[in-house]
């Protein structure tokens, strides 16, 4: 029987993971040369455009190694970005080994480490690969030192390749065969235990579950049960991705493939659940994934109120293979009915928004992202608030705690001053600074309120380090902060979707800035628009959007006050009419205005 090797490729963005995956698929003949598009695993348009992998996929290949044996290789793709650590760990759980790709010029980056740690947590065998050795800036020897110093792996194990030029691909595949252990054998006859590590929804076939069979076997017509949801189903079809779907009679322990049950309700087949047989199922499920907590929240509203149900539908479908996405209905005076959505991070949020707009053709208004606050109430109870509108009044609460993250920033040493400056503006607490052996790169560690990262942190970091700094963060807990709620009133009416929670020290300043910004964003009308920023009952800023010329002034001459009054009456009537048609429409930009406020005081 063919031996199986299940592996992933992990890498920092742009270090060439997808190109390597393509080459491996090509080399093993899974895809015919160039007949398929480059970087096949990144099949979503969005992924291809952004050059990042978002959703994991699994491809089954057959490979005859130099030892003469034929191996079944399963390459399970992982996303590269820090937001998707959760998905990385999901796909790694289905593997025994991982290829760690490091750019021969850039060296080890924050995400390289983050992903590596996830792989080590799963006890995976690591194959370090130094990519892009053909590039002029390549310095494999320095990278090998980094591998020894910063990761603690044997630098002699590192394979030097150029995925782009096709150099060293066979060595990598041979290493997969020789170094990565085969899955535990002899488990085929045990009761079925299959881990659902991903899934997607097909309009015709229902939910397609991506599984790793850990024990037992699964085949068509078999009766199965989902151990968490208790749902009982019958298997329609099993198979593997080659990368196209290829039907198999059965999948046995150690194999990776798909299972179709015809289930249409996405809640019946949840990622992280264990499939077992029925009757005579396994007693205990596989360790499921720990439930991830969304860290970043925003409101998503359809611009067409009628699209509300369609939006819910779309969110449910996305949630099917993205357990990290949460949503619940919310209702805004300014925006109508929509959903409060929770995300792993900013990129995750952007991607969900884009997928909703592109794949589901929804026209959305997104409110400024925020975090969830822990509020200790006066009565001693704890309330989680993920929407500024829901923040209890000042006298009802004892204090507010906000989420903090441990931020790790790698930067060339000449930008330390700039990074420190950004950190200071962002209320960061400095923790540590470590120079690399060559003294050219520095790792800076801070504790930063997550909310501060949501504002223009990335942009500033990129611009002030000429794009050289990389950044990673992990949640470290809630801490008490002096926070206040800033509200925005337009013509005296609070616009709930513009409320934000801010640190006391910057709230006044930001209130003024926000009011000014809104002034430039709101459309001019026949009537003037008053913008106010308030904290509690106190007005901290006000601005006026001027009215259009037509109605600005009329001269008063010859004492004809009646005429003047009649003009005013007409104007007032006009304003009333405008009010009935929705008063002041607030453009999408306005809801994000708070994000781009300048921090420098």
């Amino acid at each position: 029987m063919e031996q199986i090797r299940n592996f992933s490729i992990i890498a920092h963005i742009d270090h060439g993971k997808s190109t390597l995956a393509d080459r491996i698929l090509e080399f093993t003949g899974a895809i015919e040369d160039r007949e398929m598009q480059d970087q096949l695993l990144d099949s979503m348009d969005l992924e291809r455009e952004r050059g990042i992998t978002i959703k994991l996929q699994a491809v089954n290949m057959s490979y005859t190694a130099k030892d003469g044996n034929t191996y079944q290789l399963n390459l399970i793709d992982t996303p590269g970005h820090v937001d998707f650590n959760y998905e990385v760990s999901r796909s790694l759980a289905a593997c025994e080994g991982a290829i760690l790709v490091i750019d021969a010029a850039q060296g080890i980056e924050a995400q390289t480490l983050a992903n590596l740690y996830l792989a080590l947590e799963q006890d995976l065998t690591i194959i370090p690969v130094i990519n892009k050795i053909d590039l002029p800036g390549a310095d494999p020897e320095r990278i090998k030192e980094q591998i020894a110093d910063e990761i603690g792996l044997d630098p002699d194990d590192a394979i030097e390749i150029s995925a782009k030029m096709g150099i060293g691909i066979e060595d990598v595949i041979e290493a997969v065969v020789n170094r990565i252990p085969e899955p535990e054998t002899g488990l085929d006859d045990k009761p079925l235990k299959a881990l659902i590590f991903d899934s997607h929804y097909d309009a015709y076939r229902g939910v397609i579950a991506y599984v790793r069979i850990v024990e037992g076997r699964i085949e068509a017509r078999q009766k199965i049960q989902m151990m968490a949801s208790k749902e009982r189903l019958e298997v329609d079809e099993v198979g593997v991705f080659t990368p196209l779907m290829k039907v198999k009679k059965s999948l046995r322990a150690g194999q990776v493939g798909y299972v179709i049950t015809g289930a249409k309700d996405i809640n019946h087949v949840r990622v992280g659940d264990t499939i077992t047989s029925f009757p005579n199922g396994a007693e205990k499920p596989l360790p499921g994934y720990k439930k991830v907590t969304p860290m970043v929240f925003c409101g998503l509203y359809p611009t067409q109120g009628a699209d509300y149900d369609y939006l819910r539908d779309a969110l449910e479908k996305l949630q099917l293979n993205d357990a990290a996405l949460t949503f619940e209905p919310e209702n805004s005076v300014a925006l109508g009915f929509g959903f409060r959505c929770g995300f792993l991070g900013l990129l995750h949020m952007e991607i969900i928004q884009e997928r909703l707009e592109r794949e589901y053709e929804l026209d959305l208004i997104a409110t400024a992202p925020g975090v969830a606050y822990r509020v200790l109430m006066s009565d001693g109870s704890i309330k989680m608030v993920d929407n500024p509108t829901g923040m209890p009044e000042g006298k009802q609460r004892e204090h507010i705690e906000e989420p903090f993250v441990l931020a790790t920033i790698f930067t060339p040493d000449e930008y330390i001053g700039n990074v420190m400056e950004i950190a200071r503006d962002k209320r960061a607490v400095y923790k540590d600074m470590i120079y690399s052996n060559d003294g050219r790169r520095v790792k800076l560690v801070f504790e930063i309120p997550l909310a501060e990262i949501l504002y223009d942190f990335f942009d500033q970091l990129k611009s002030k380090t000429r794009g050289y700094a990389t950044f990673d963060y992990e949640f470290i807990g809630y801490r008490k902060s002096s926070l206040v709620k800033l509200d925005i009133l337009v013509n005296g009416e609070p616009v709930d979707a513009l409320s934000t929670i801010l640190h006391e020290d910057s709230a006044y300043y930001k209130g003024r800035q926000l009011a000014q910004k809104l002034r430039s964003l709101l459309p001019r009308k026949q009537f003037a628009i008053a913008i106010q920023a308030t904290i509690g009952n106190k007005i901290v800023a006000r601005e006026t959007v001027a009215a259009l010329r037509k109605n600005v002034l009329s001269k008063c001459y010859g004492g004809d006050i009646s005429r003047k009054r009649k003009l005013l009456e007409k104007q007032k009537e006009g304003k009333k009419r405008m009010k009935q048609v929705g008063n002041v429409e607030i453009p999408q930009d306005a809801f994000l205005a708070v994000l781009s406020l300048d921090d420098s005081k």
């Binding site: 008053a530 601005e543 010329r549 600005v552 002034l553 010859g558 006050i561 009054r565």
Partner: protein, 373 residues
């Protein structure tokens, strides 16, 4: 002390300016004589009970087409019916081309002590565009004549926001008027009124183009004139100390006035009236219609409020309001005033409210709020 005013509408013009929609008719010698005769008759027929008169204002049209003796006759008629204060302000509106030294001497002898000169612009190009019949040269001559004849109290009108007018061109107008050292200046933004030449010929886009520029010009005027010793006492009016127009103050301070002549407006016992805007109908029987809405107390209070707020420094005074209407301003408009303060549109002073700097040129946005819904 300002108490009551009289307005005389002289409806004749040599030609109609492109922006003007006041009632006016083509000049003819015969009709001017007829006008003087009939207005004297109207003053006698429509005599009302008014306190001592502190201002008489000849507006138009082009009152400077009247000779000194014609003005004298009209003032005599007024004096027969009304008690005119010794130091009453007697203003004559004048167009530069119709001013001569001899004429001003006559006017002065007839009692005129203030001339409001329709300058509008110091640029011949702009004057042509506005449809004015005078040149910049006429302006300097006119001012020279008025001053030489011994009338120091001169007001100059300027219009800003002309299509195509640049900020530099406007500033040039400001610099010149400042150099003339007139004690009173009125600045109006160009408005396109129905029935005017501009309304027919100007396209909307030409106006939008200068929309913001016009506001900037008015702001610039405020800054410049204040720096040069003028107080901005009313939205459109600037004065050197003591030269505020008494006649305009009558309007803003809710004092009574009677208007004679076609289309003239009157305000008597808090009710508003207007003469028919047709020369023959007026000359026939002095038809005067009451604006019935103005009898409504809530309308009266609204008018009081917005007229007061036009006075940028005096503002809307709480005591004066309650004296006028017998109720407190806060009881009537307390909530609205609070709202407007919170918007930053008005500012609370000692016992009064004034327009905020930002809203001066959008004052209608505040004014309309006082009107009953």
């Amino acid at each position: 002390m300002i108490s009551a005013g009289i307005y005389i509408h002289v409806p004749f013009c040599k030609s109609k300016c492109h922006y003007c929609n006041f009632y006016s008719i083509k000049l003819s010698e015969k009709s001017i004589n007829c006008f003087v005769e009939r207005i004297i008759e109207e003053i006698k027929q429509r005599a009302v009970s008014l306190p001592r008169i502190s201002s008489v204002y000849f507006g138009g049209g082009t009152p400077s087409l009247l000779s000194g003796s014609q003005i004298r006759k009209i003032i005599n008629a007024i004096e027969e019916v009304y008690d005119i204060s010794n130091n009453a302000e007697i203003t004559l509106e004048a167009n530069p081309e119709s001013v001569s030294l001899d004429k001003v001497f006559e006017w002065k002898d007839s009692g005129v002590n203030r001339v409001s000169l329709g300058i509008q612009s110091f640029s011949d190009e702009e004057l042509k565009m506005l449809g004015r019949v005078h040149t910049s040269e006429d302006i300097y001559k006119a001012i020279g004549s008025i001053q030489e004849a011994g009338i120091a109290n001169i007001s100059g009108d300027l219009i800003c926001g002309l299509p195509g007018q640049s900020m530099e061109e406007w500033q040039n107008n400001l610099v010149i008027i400042k150099s003339l050292n007139l004690p009173h200046i009125s600045i109006y933004p160009l408005q396109i009124e129905e029935g005017t030449m501009f309304h027919k010929t100007l396209v909307e886009s030409a106006l939008e183009e200068i929309e913001d520029k016009m506001i900037n010009m008015m702001q610039e005027s405020r800054k410049f004139l204040k720096e040069n010793g003028y107080s901005h006492y009313e939205i459109a009016n600037y004065a050197k100390d003591g030269y505020e127009s008494k006649h305009n103050m009558i309007y803003w301070q809710y004092k009574p006035y009677i208007g004679y002549g076609p289309s003239a407006a009157s305000f008597i016992n808090r009710a508003r009236f207007q003469n028919v805007s047709d020369f023959s109908e007026w000359a026939d029987s002095f038809i005067c219609e009451e604006d019935l809405e103005s009898r409504d107390m809530s309308v009266q209070m609204a008018e009081y409020c917005f007229l007061s707020l036009r006075l940028l420094e005096i503002g809307l005074d709480k005591d004066k309001f309650s004296k006028e209407f017998g109720v407190s301003l806060d009881d009537i408009h307390g909530e609205l005033l609070e709202k407007l303060i919170s918007y930053g549109w008005i500012i609370k002073g000692k016992n009064k409210y004034v327009l905020s700097e930002e809203l001066i040129y959008y004052a209608n946005q505040v004014f309309m709020e006082f009107l009953p819904s």
